[in-house]
Amino acid sequence: MQIVQVSEVINETNNIKTIKFKLPVESKPGQFIMVWIPGIDEIPMSLSYSDGITVDNVGEATQAIHALEIGSQIGIKGPYGNGFDLSENNFLLVGGGTGIAALAQAAEKLSQSGKNLRIAIGARTASDLLFQERMKAFGEVHVATDDGSSGHHGFVTQVVEKLIAEKKPDMILACGPEPMMVAVVGLAGDISIQCSLERYMKCGFGICGSCQCGKYTVCKDGPVFSGQQLAEIEDFGKWKRDAAGKPVWF
């Protein structure tokens, strides 16, 4: 556990903020940290920057993160998890909702190493779209909104289908709601894919078992899984476990 100070707060959308701080250790794109908001809760958050997280205000803990100010102290465990394998050349990145946060550093790194990437971002409405501007610096950005207020009117999966048809990538990276990822895995067919899963996490470092998904411990074996691995996981896209370890259907 490291105590760090908030150094910057960025309003990304109505409901999403980026919080920056000095992270005392190196991380890989796709890794996450456990963020302790003292007195409130500790929750998993992808590193959307090497020194920041991007947080959707959905409940008590994320609301407390939104209330942080420059100079506020929070606790950090990690980075944890495996991160993405970025060794291929032609990438398609698919982010639904805050899922794009988990992909942002991968996009940055891929772009730095001169690789080819297209990025599909989905959200309910235009004002919820995350990292659209940031991603433009890294690759070709395609957008979908449920209400059609920006880009494609409909699901981001429809954009993905079109992009694959246009040019087959040799690796897809996806993060978002599990049902969305199930759909993307389906569209990928024989194209390699890695999905980053979000499961209920307590310890974050592979000891308690609350994030168990099939035979995998998401916080340690994941959160990034290959298409092959996902094929072995019966739960994927069907059910997750709640804080008591009971299966809950999506």
């Binding site: 556990m1 105590i3 456990m34 302790w36 003292p38 007195g39 809760d41 500790e42 929750i43 102290q73 606790g75 465990k77 307590k202 310890c203 974050g204 470092f205 592979g206 000891i207 308690c208 078992g209 609350s210 168990q212 099939g214 035979k215 411990t217 476990r241 709640d242 804080a243 008591a244 370890g245 009971k246 299966p247």
Partner: protein, 305 residues
């Protein structure tokens, strides 16, 4: 190659390593993986109670210098939901031991009965959780309570009944004796030691529950001592647990009198193949020292040289 099979109250194990309760033991598939890929001789489930329970809030687990600090607070899906998990775990080729917790002997008996019905090879009574209010240590430190609970459970199931004890008592031998007198089939020692971490930077405890229990290397010397004292007091088998990371660690417990060992935090430190590694190191040691069966070294340190 040395024969490292062992037997506890009729339970035959291919090797003396088991998964300790509460470590990745909440789902059937993870238990199965520990058997199939980890190489454990048996697995103990997460402690299961009557009702689903979310446990304590987060932070609930933390890496400290010499070990892990946790206050999970016994999260579990409840005994009924656990049937599916146990059945999956039973597909493996090793005994599955059902760990249970409750606040009365009656509830312990109901839970044990269900574990037996679901197919568990034995039950382990958690009388030692140091951070779950009325459950655990509170009763596990009172020989009378222990006698009562173990007795009641013994009356309601046929499978072996083990009691898991805490080192946080002045004389653990007395508690073990109560287990034996009540007909218990074995003693498991130790559970975590009550502990906490305060973050000076913030002036507050890190765990949401403030107080938790420490496991891992820091508690090994206390665990070995507990097993040594218990095995000097009772006749029933002892299962040693606390800070085992290597074959040498396991051998300390075995020589102190443990017929088998459990590994919890070691799964974090060494990965899930900690079980096969420890087994490997135990057999190499035995081969080098010309011991052929595990029995020859169980309790050896009690005997003098």
């Amino acid at each position: 190659m040395a024969d490292i099979r062992t037997e506890i109250a009729g339970l035959k194990l291919e090797n003396p390593t088991m998964l300790a309760s509460g470590i990745l033991g909440q789902t059937g598939e993870s238990l199965l993986k520990i058997i199939n890929e980890g190489g454990a001789g048996a697995v103990v489930t997460k402690s299961i109670g009557m009702e689903p329970r979310e446990g304590h809030g987060s932070p609930c687990a933390l890496e400290l210098d010499g070990g892990l600090l946790n206050a999970m607070g016994l999260p579990n899906p409840g005994i009924d939901a656990f049937e599916t998990e146990l059945k999956i775990a039973l597909k493996g080729d090793a005994p599955v031991i059902g760990s249970i917790f409750a606040d009365t002997g009656e509830k312990f008996s109901i839970l044990a009965g269900k574990m037996e019905e679901f197919g568990a090879s034995a039950v382990e009574l958690n009388l030692s959780c140091p951070h779950a209010d009325k459950y655990g240590l509170d009763m596990g430190s009172d020989p009378e309570k222990v006698r009562e609970i173990v007795g009641q459970v013994k009356n309601s199931v046929k499978i072996p009944v083990f009691a898991k004890l805490s080192p946080m008592v002045p004389d653990i031998g007395q508690i073990a004796l109560a287990v034996q007198e009540a007909g218990g089939d074995g003693v498991v020692a130790i559970n975590t030691i009550k502990a906490m971490k305060i973050e000076p930077e913030l002036g507050m405890p890190v765990l949401k529950n403030k107080v938790g229990g420490i496991s891992g290397p820091a508690i090994k010397p206390a665990g070995v001592r507990a097993v040594y004292e218990i095995s000097g007091t009772v006749e029933i088998p002892v299962i040693g647990v606390g800070g085992i990371n290597t074959g040498m660690d396991a051998l300390e417990y075995i020589m102190a009198g443990a017929s088998a060992v459990q590994i919890g935090s070691g799964v974090h430190y060494q990965g899930i193949d900690v079980f096969s590694k420890v087994n490997q190191e135990i057999s190499e040691f035995m081969d080098r020292k010309n011991y052929s069966k595990l029995d020859e070294i169980i309790g050896m340190a009690r005997k003098g040289i």
